[in-house]
């Protein structure tokens, strides 16, 4: 009798341990599905970070680096694009890339402003350009506009988004499979004891262990802010990567608290059923 009881306890502990691993795996799948590089997270980069401001700064820096060698004043590319126009272009680029559509940006308005700036400078200095200089001017304008097109494009977003869509299909199947397995283990634990409070106790151990396992690492990583020390350039890409990492860790921490709620419900149920059992006797 005692031997059977010890065996049942040992088996319950093993099942509870396996259940805690399954719960943790389900949490991890939830973390990746909700907090991973999905469309809503990518869509949050522009409104929730200084991505566009940093992109504008990078673009203007690069324009100045291209302007100095040709002898034009550094500020000739200032104000050819406003921050609102850039933000709109980036949003459109993200939306089209996520839908796997080609995005062609119309820079004619920006080009016109740049040419106006150049003409104003040349008129002010009373400079007449030779044919060679006019050719070089066209090359310079094309260079500045190409630089804008390249900065706005987000090819990595499209690739990541496509892989992520494939991954989420796998995650859904894996998640459902793990939920079914967890349900099976809970059923076994349920059937092993006459008084269901015993079964609930082992499920409570699993829930709390899942909470610990799914919270310790994200909390440690989020507190260390290691992702803010990644050597990534340019600054706007760094902003986006830091945002994605931080968002994933915050989501993981929030989702892990579900197990505390489950634990609270189970502990309450065990307490209530113990009280009612005592009353009956």
């Amino acid at each position: 009798m005692k031997k059977n009881s010890n065996l049942r306890t040992a088996l319950s502990i093993i099942l509870a341990f396996i259940l805690s691993i399954v719960f943790t795996a389900i949490t991890l799948i939830g973390d990746v599905y909700i907090g991973g590089i999905n469309e809503s997270v990518i869509g949050g980069i522009v409104p929730d970070t200084n991505y566009c401001e940093k992109l504008m700064k990078e673009y203007l820096d690069n324009c100045q680096s291209m302007t100095i060698p040709v002898g034009l004043p550094e500020n000739i590319t200032d104000n050819i694009v406003t921050i609102d126009e850039l933000r709109s272009d980036v949003n459109q680029s993200i939306a089209k890339t996520l839908r796997n559509e080609k995005y062609s940006l119309d820079t004619s308005a920006y080009e016109a402003r740049l040419r106006d700036n150049i003409d104003a400078y040349l008129n002010d200095k009373k400079i007449e350009l030779t044919d060679d200089q006019k050719d070089d001017l066209e090359s310079y304008v094309e260079l500045i506009m190409d630089e804008y097109q390249n900065e706005i494009k987000l090819p990595a977003v499209g690739t990541i988004s496509r892989y992520y869509r494939k991954l989420t299909k796998v995650l859904i199947f894996a998640g459902l499979g793990l939920i079914a397995f967890a349900a099976f283990i809970i059923y076994l634990l349920w059937k092993m004891y006459k008084w269901k409070g015993h079964s609930l106790r082992y499920i409570a151990y699993s829930a709390l262990a899942a909470f610990y396992m799914s919270e310790i690492v994200p909390i440690a990583l989020y507190s260390s802010k290691f992702y803010t020390r990644l050597s990534i350039k340019p600054e706007y890409v760094y902003e986006a990567v830091v945002y994605i990492f931080g968002n994933f860790l915050k989501t993981s921490i929030r989702i892990g608290f579900i197990w505390l709620v489950v634990l609270a419900v189970i502990v309450t149920e065990v307490y209530v059923s113990r009280k009612s059992a005592k009353k009956k006797h």
Partner: protein, 252 residues
């Protein structure tokens, strides 16, 4: 008590099993991550480093080694590139005369090697009114703030070629008027180096064949875009100016 202990035991064993099962993946991820991580949050400001201290300032002095005797001496470095030995009380004695700095070596323990992006000197040519800060490296950011040295060439005093780049519309604009025989001066924290211009050359945009960095001669090679006109563009030609070392302390 079991509500505290059992979950903790499960957690410890759970992490242990995951670590043992995924050890190769975890180690690879950690090593890749540490490769792209810095010690601090990156600083995206445009400020470049600066290790340059002008050795020709009034009360400045340097420690050199006499090549003929191997003796360590304290010297005052003059803007014309000559040096005056100071006596034991660190003052130039009444009998101290100006010496050619080529007779001296810079002790290696007093030399601070410039890192990429650091300012380590200045380049001047009085006749054409050229003066620019000198940086190690030749990236966009550096060339906006001064003259940049190709990191694959050598610093003054090493006895090997020095390749410098600058924009033709800013810091190297005066090169348009440079002539054979002009003296170009590079002032570093460790000494003043004088170079005599020996010639110039116009090449294609790639500049291939215009210089030899493997030669065993300290040749100063300065290059910029050509022609020196507005909108000459970076796709046109290059203008190279060559100068040979005439004085300066050797590096030990």
């Amino acid at each position: 008590m079991a509500y505290v202990c059992m979950p903790l035991i499960f957690t410890v064993f759970g992490y242990l099993i995951v670590y043992l099962a995924l050890k190769p993946v975890i180690e690879l991820t950690v090593s890749v991550t540490t490769m792209i991580m810095a010690n601090e949050v990156p600083d995206f400001n445009m400020n470049l480093g600066n290790i340059f201290e002008d050795p020709t300032k009034p009360n400045a002095s340097r420690e050199y080694v006499r090549i003929d005797t191997g003796e360590k001496v304290v010297v005052k470095v003059n803007p014309d590139g000559t040096v005056e030995e100071k006596n034991n009380n660190n003052a130039t004695g009444g009998g101290s005369s100006k010496q050619d700095s080529s007779k001296y070596k810079v002790p290696s323990d007093t030399l601070k090697w410039p890192k990429n992006g650091e300012r380590y000197g200045k380049i001047t040519c009085e006749r054409i009114d050229m003066e620019a800060p000198l940086f190690m490296g030749d990236g966009f950011m550096i060339l906006r703030q001064g003259v940049g040295q190709f990191a694959g060439s050598f610093i003054p005093g090493y006895g090997k070629p020095i390749l410098l780049a600058g924009h033709s519309m800013t810091f190297f604009a005066p090169l348009e008027d440079i002539e054979k025989g002009d003296i170009v001066t590079i002032t570093t924290s460790y000494g003043v180096y004088k170079y005599k211009v020996t010639g110039s050359k116009i090449t294609g945009a790639s500049g291939s064949g215009a210089y030899d960095l493997k030669q065993d001669k300290e040749q100063l090679i300065m290059y910029t875009c050509y022609p020196f006109t507005l909108l000459s563009g970076s796709r046109r030609q290059r203008y190279f100016v060559y100068a040979d070392l005439i004085s300066g302390p050797k590096l030990n």
